[in-house]
């Protein structure tokens, strides 16, 4: 069993086998950034994601793969046939902008999957990314969160358009399912449940 939960027609279930491989950039030595003695973990929006060597050195296996955005942008010519075969998806780091992908590839629906890497669960940037992927760029396929994905954030991810959640490996996806139902009738309009509660119901 994988740790991947998928929402389909409003029903959430753990999928038996994922089928997608996440392609990662080769690890390189980077200087450890510190501020006030603390290691800075967050890359700011606009920060560079990968070096040319990392991009060139990334090995892409056969089968269904999720490519790092930087690899896709630099090497997409290699993958034209595989895109047509529905074998290519792209993943964004927390600090990467969906606009970068959308400017390059106007129809995002050529990708069966777009994924967002949650570097730290407490970083809410992925929520805006999800909202934009769905509402601005009209992406209709699987939008997946992976990385530091924990059950207590699932309800927010769901309402920001994510429909697949790869729960962190040391946590139970089974337990996490319950949290998708934390709230039954949210107040505000958002990506999923677009209408605010007072447009959905007559509130007297």
């Amino acid at each position: 069993m994988s740790n991947l939960i998928k929402l389909q027609d409003g029903h959430a279930a753990i999928v038996a086998a994922d089928g997608w491989q996440i392609v990662r950039l080769p690890v390189v030595e980077t200087e450890v950034k510190k501020q006030a003695g603390k290691v800075v973990l967050f890359k700011l929006t606009g920060a560079e994601s990968a070096t040319a060597e990392q991009i060139a050195g990334t090995e892409v296996p056969a089968g269904k793969v999720l490519l790092p955005l930087s690899v896709w942008l630099a090497r997409k010519a290699e993958f034209a046939a595989r895109v047509a075969a529905g074998e290519i998806g792209v993943w964004l780091a927390t600090h990467e902008l969906i606009e970068t992908l959308a400017e390059d590839q106007t129809d995002l629906n050529v990708f069966p999957v777009i994924a967002v890497f949650i570097e730290r669960f407490a970083d809410g940037r992925a929520y805006s990314t999800g909202a934009l992927v769905r509402s601005r760029f009209g992406f209709k396929n699987e939008l997946r969160a992976f990385g530091d994905v924990l059950r207590d954030q699932l309800f927010f991810l769901k309402r920001c358009g994510f429909n697949a959640y790869d729960i962190r490996a040391d946590r139970s996806a089974e337990d996490a399912l319950a949290s998708l139902q934390d709230f039954s009738e949210p107040y505000q309009g958002a990506t999923v449940i677009e209408q605010p509660v007072w447009r959905r119901y007559a509130r007297g």
């Binding site: 929006t45 902008l97 309800f155 309402r159 990506t191 509660v197 509130r203």
Partner: protein, 560 residues
């Protein structure tokens, strides 16, 4: 006052269940400290020096007597018999046990209360003018839109984990009493020539380490667009605000870094996509919420009461209280009354369970069962008949709630400081006490007149020291406690930030320093001039000179 329907109640009930399970998992070791932290914070639960602190939301400062009785019950049952009114109009408990917090929240839910988003990096409780709906200078009652903001921001999925906390303040009167320029988003509601309700929007204000007054991003936003415009602002912030340094993560830093023009350009580009979307407020929704805030059945009264005038002439204590604690009301024959939580010797803003019960009774008896908390950490009864003032005063006085010091030097805004707070550089409550003692004489206080003295135990500025006419800040200096004093801060329409007068002082010097500042004012004031006016007219020099006149650094202390 707003009343929950099934949707409101369900959200609050579901929150209690969710937090009960999160707490259970934390106590069972299934959630790490780091994972639990943002969850408990978004439920107002800080871990402070001795115990968790629970911050209960009082949306825009409005409460009814049933809720106050529940707060009293919680203080008795799970705390040490008291609660605390915070500078953002909320209630805080200093001694609950973590394992009891789900039960406390369940109790709160029975009276339409919660602790949702009272802390953490999310949209916090909306604050407003404590005289909303009754102030003579009010142009627009801010409460309906404040409630609409509350609902929209509650569990807003996109803004659940912002770079840093995010605070709204709203005001609908010509004199700003909500410090709108000191908030991440400040809103002033007004009407244009044709009576249309418009909003002036400030963005990027805040206290803390880098105090900044907000800038106007939009001068005339039609009210229907309030939420979609806020969605746009906060989306830009969520994506581009700094997350690498907690001290640079507030929206104010982003606005400063981009400049207001560029920030506005980005917001407008984003807003183009949100404008007229589903969160656009309809007249029907506005009316639905607004009908909860209609005026009570006021009687037709005259605006003079000979009996009260006679009592005031007879009893100076009553006259003093009328002067300081009783405020104008837009309806003839009615007044608003501030119950002071600042008697000498009690931590500013603290109130016992017994006093809470009295407050609830007073509200039922004299003020249609409603009351408000103020960001100056007092409580207001909003609709008291002029003719009832004497009786009310006697009852409030018997409960220690009638200190006639509102707006005076002993009406201190003060954070919990080193007595409770882990982040403190220094204690703040004993400093407040020493100043209150030195200025205890009421005639003296009344002679000094209007003065705001604010104390924070560290740069996080919970005590708003930057906007105090006199501000006191605890600073770190080796292992002893030192205090920086600033003057010239002010809240309101002509808000300003105070400037530090010079090297810092030991704890036992602070009251003496304040005394010298006051002396300079008393000697130099012209008729009707408040302390802040004299500071603005004379500049800081005469004040500095007096304070440091005989002070050799490190040797001579300032004596009172």
């Amino acid at each position: 006052m707003y009343k929950y329907d099934e949707y409101d109640q369900r959200i609050v009930d579901e929150r209690v269940a969710q937090f009960r399970d999160q707490t259970r998992r934390y106590l069972a070791g299934e959630l790490s400290e780091d994972e639990f932290k943002p969850l408990r914070l978004q439920n107002g639960l800080y871990i402070q020096r001795y115990a968790p602190m629970l911050r209960v939301a009082v949306p825009y400062g409005l409460l009814n007597s049933t809720q106050i009785r529940k707060l009293a019950h919680i203080a008795r049952t799970w705390d040490k018999g008291y609660a605390h009114v915070s500078t953002r109009q909320n209630f805080q408990y200093n001694w609950p046990e973590l394992k009891n917090v789900p039960d406390i929240l369940a109790e709160l839910a029975t009276v339409e209360m919660h602790a949702i988003q009272t802390s953490g990096n999310c949209i916090r409780n909306v604050t407003t003018d404590q005289f909303a709906g009754i102030a003579p200078d009010e142009v627009v009652d801010p409460r309906p839109l404040a409630e609409i903001i509350r609902q929209w921001s509650t569990f807003h999925p996109e803004f659940a984990l912002l770079p840093r906390k995010f605070k709204f303040a709203v005001s609908g009167s010509s004199n700003d009493r909500a410090v709108v320029q000191m908030h991440d988003i400040g809103l002033e509601f007004y009407r244009d020539g044709s009576g249309e309700l418009l909003i002036k929007v400030w963005v990027g204000g805040g206290l803390g380490r880098t105090p900044i007054l907000g800038e106007v991003i939009e001068a005339a936003l039609p009210w229907q667009h309030l939420l979609t415009y806020a969605d746009a602002i906060i989306r830009v912030y969520n994506r581009h605000g700094r997350r690498d340094n907690i001290y640079k993560a507030r929206i104010k830093i982003l606005v400063k870094a981009l400049g207001i023009e560029e920030f506005k350009r980005q917001v407008e580009a984003e807003w183009a996509h949100h404008k007229d979307g589903p969160n656009t407020i309809t007249q029907a929704e506005f009316d639905r919420v607004a009908k909860f805030f209609t005026a009570p059945a006021y009687e037709t009264l005259t605006d003079r009461d000979a009996g009260i005038d006679a009592k005031a002439a007879e009893e100076k204590a009553f006259a003093n209280w009328l002067k300081r604690n009783v405020h104008a009301h837009k309806v003839a024959g009615y007044r608003a009354v501030t119950l002071s939580l600042k008697p000498t010797g009690i931590a500013p803003g603290d109130i016992s369970d017994k006093q809470l019960e009295v407050v609830a009774d007073l509200a039922d008896k004299y003020s249609y069962g409603e009351l408000r908390t103020t960001h100056e950490q007092n409580i207001v009864l909003s609709d008291v008949k002029l003719g009832d003032l004497y009786a009310l005063w006697q009852e409030a006085r018997a409960a220690g709630l009638a200190t006639p010091n509102i707006g005076l030097i002993t009406d201190i805004i003060c954070c919990p400081g080193g007595d409770f707070c882990d982040l403190a550089n220094a204690k703040s409550i004993p400093i407040a006490a020493s100043i209150q003692q030195l200025f205890d004489d009421l005639d003296y206080q009344h002679d000094i007149g209007e003065l705001e003295l604010n104390i924070s135990g560290c740069m996080n500025s919970c005590g708003h020291h930057h906007v105090g006419h006199i501000g006191v800040l605890g600073v770190d200096k080796g292992d002893s406690e030192w205090y920086q004093v600033s003057i010239g801060g002010k809240q309101g329409n002509d808000a300003s930030l105070g400037a530090v007068i010079g090297p810092s002082f030991a704890a036992d010097e602070v009251a003496g320093v304040v005394k010298r500042l006051i002396d300079v004012y008393l000697e130099n004031r012209s008729v009707d001039e408040r302390f802040i006016d004299t500071v603005r007219r004379l500049g800081h020099t005469p004040f500095k000179e007096r304070v440091y006149a005989d002070r050799q650094p490190g040797k001579q202390k300032v004596e009172a």
